[in-house]
């Protein structure tokens, strides 16, 4: 098996995908307003004709490198390229103001590489073990997995969990559009032939995440008119860059602690890179001999937050490929890509698709190492890309989205579908409604409906609820769903009571 894995990995296609993914991810991450979610949704059509392992090496490389790229702008212009670099911004920018911007970038490069690579090792060792859990699953459990996935990602809604769940169910409703696979009947097509085969996932993804983001960037129209541009302080790009061996040894406990925090936070559904980074930041501050320097330019802070946020990337892939539960928006998009490439999350990833899975994981570890090496060479040049105006980025995103949506099925109706989802995505953003649950609902509807119907058949004369409660695996999943929904509700209720008392 490993011979095939390494033959796949060292194929020209994989190596090109690796380099393009790393450099592309760094550039996307360094551009405030663009993020890994948008980049991966645009990449799906481009990777359509590629082999699944090369496609995923590229997408995973973009995922992890975007987090690193985001830290560069956080350090130099106090603008986190991605939310997960917010914890880096205060200390990184403080160091830049002190003329130590390059040193902060050097630590960010090394920390991102170590955090990401260690999370890849965790993915390599933990995922096969967790994958075996799915052997216990049958139709009733698959229905519950869909509910669990929706309840987790619904809770990511930020302000209101109700809105998150509402959008998840909205995605399920969209998933029912088209021909019912069991009865052959048309559902909610209203005579439109373009809807007979259902909503195409990729145009929906591109519309929700790319077109809507292009529209968000246009909100700066007045800033464009005033000719406002992001300014990079070039004088901060001098001096010491990489940490010395002695400094690396000093930061070693910080690297290990932050990597473990990042991996665990990544595995936990619902917590993303930003939470991992802040958590590691807090722990590093507690462990530091100079906690007073945190927030005022501590290199230890950058070490912690950057190790942790890149460690989250590998951690978040573990529940995705083993259980099909995406714990973040990027993971939800990756789930769509998995399905489009004919890969089913669960035991099959470590059964019939095992060589593909291990090639992807080896590629992910290599992507993190390569990210560090390329970062050392070109991060000074990458940062200059932030000067590119959003006025130029907007039409570029739209044109890429158009060709991407068309190329999946060579259908112009898919491009119109992308437009509709773009408008829905933008209006959702303005209305405070999260869009990631829509995609998850759309992706998981068929699994959920089949699981629901088969569970009814399997229950025979037993009441369905009782049947579920009699199955240990179902019972565990039901408890997880209840915990996912109830715990945040209790937390917010306690917080509200405390605020009222205060």
């Amino acid at each position: 098996m490993w011979t095939t894995v390494f033959a796949n990995f060292f194929s020209l296609e994989s190596l090109i995908a690796l380099v393009v993914g790393v450099v592309g991810g760094m550039v996307i991450g360094a551009l405030p307003g663009l993020n890994a979610t948008m980049a991966i949704s645009l990449l799906i059509p481009i990777t359509y004709t590629m082999s699944p392992y090369a496609a995923f090496i590229m997408m995973m490389a973009v995922y992890t490198s975007a987090f690193y790229g985001g830290s560069l702008t956080a350090i130099l212009i106090h603008t986190p390229g991605t939310p997960s670099s917010a914890a880096t911004a205060a200390d990184g920018y403080a160091l830049t103001q002190k003329g130590r911007g390059l040193e902060a970038m050097g630590m960010s490069t090394v920390a991102s590489m170590i955090g990401g690579a260690l999370s890849g090792v965790a993915l390599l060792t933990l995922a096969p073990l967790l994958g075996k859990v799915t052997l216990l699953f049958s139709a009733p459990e698959y229905f519950l997995i869909v509910i669990l996935g929706l309840s987790i990602i619904g809770g990511l809604g930020g302000g209101s969990a109700v809105k998150g769940y509402l959008m998840g169910v909205f995605g399920l409703i969209l998933g029912t559009i088209g021909t019912d696979t069991i009865t052959g009947q048309l559902r909610f097509t209203f005579g439109n032939m373009g809807l007979y085969s259902g909503i195409s996932t990729v145009p929906a993804l591109i519309g929700l995440f790319s077109i809507s983001q292009a529209m968000v960037l246009c909100e700066q129209h007045l800033a464009f008119r005033r000719g406002e541009h992001r300014v990079v302080d070039e004088s901060a790009l001098h001096g010491k860059f990489l940490p010395t061996a002695k400094e690396m040894l000093f930061h070693l406990p910080n690297f290990i602690r932050s990597a473990i925090i990042g991996i665990v936070v990544g595995i936990l559904p619902g917590a993303g890179g930003d939470i991992g980074a802040w958590f590691a930041y807090g722990q590093a501050k507690k462990a530091s001999k100079h906690p007073e320097e945190f927030g005022d330019g501590a290199i230890e802070a950058i070490c912690a937050s950057e190790t942790a946020n890149n460690a989250v990337t590998g951690g978040s892939i573990i529940p995705l490929i083993t259980l099909g539960i995406p714990g973040s928006t990027v993971a939800a998009v990756l789930l769509g890509a998995l399905i489009m490439h004919g890969l089913t999350p669960g035991q099959s990833m470590f059964g019939k698709n095992v060589t593909t899975t291990y090639t992807i994981i080896i590629g992910f570890i290599a992507a993190n190492i390569l990210m560090g090496l390329i970062g050392m060479l070109i991060c000074r040049q990458v940062i200059k890309i932030t000067k590119v105006s959003d006025a130029i980025l907007v039409p570029v995103i739209v044109v890429l989205s158009t060709i991407g949506s068309y190329s999946i099925n060579n259908r112009i109706s898919d491009v119109y579908m992308m437009l509709a989802f773009g408008l829905i995505g933008y209006l959702c953003k303005k209305a405070g409604l999260p869009t990631a649950p829509i995609i998850l609902g759309l992706l998981l509807e068929s699994t959920g409906e089949q699981g629901f119907k088969n569970a009814i058949l399997m229950a025979k004369d037993t009441p369905v609820l009782l049947y579920y409660l009699q199955r240990p695996a179902s019972l565990v999943l039901i408890l997880l769903i209840v915990a996912t929904v109830i715990v945040p509700a209790i937390q917010s209720a306690v917080k509200a009571v405390r605020n009222r008392k205060a």
Binding site: T49, L166, E219, D390, I403, S407, L419
Partner: protein
């Protein structure tokens, strides 16, 4: 007298309730009992969540009367340019549908850059040509897929 402020969630929730009612009615009247079983279930959950959103919206609006607004409604000033750009995008897609990808993409990219106050002539020429040229080579020769 202080002007009353309503959360936009109320309007959205009412619209979503109306949508779920319409789809439930459609499913009942058009689809067979077996085909509509799952859609009806999720539409009922959808309606229940829309009611919860409506209640939250009303509660937030009442809280705003006490001078503590817990919501931010979208403003026309903020969304008017993005919506105008969306109209441009629709026109662009229709043009791609009618005359193909290359010419509309060149014009759209340069036009939208101009609309967004990009006035550098070199950029106005190089960015559209570079983008369309790159995509042509990528999709036609490397990925070997059709362009619209």
């Amino acid at each position: 007298m202080k002007k009353k402020s309503w959360s936009q969630d109320i309007i959205i929730a009412i619209l979503l309730l109306a949508l779920s009612a319409f789809l439930i009615f459609h499913a009942i009247t058009v689809q067979s009992a077996e085909a509509r079983q799952f859609p009806i279930l999720i539409l009922l959950i959808f309606a229940a969540l829309a009611v919860a959103m409506l209640v939250n919206g009303i509660r937030d609006s009442r809280a705003a009367e006490d001078g503590t607004p817990r919501f931010q409604n979208m403003k026309w000033e903020e969304v008017k340019y993005p919506l105008l750009v969306f109209v441009f995008i629709v026109i662009y897609v229709v043009a791609v549908d009618l005359v193909g990808f290359i010419i509309p993409s060149l014009l759209f990219t340069a036009g939208l850059m101009w609309f967004n106050y990009a006035r550098n002539k070199l950029a106005l020429i190089l960015v559209p040509c570079g983008l369309v040229g790159f995509l042509y080579v990528l999709f036609t020769f490397i990925l070997k897929t059709k362009m619209p």
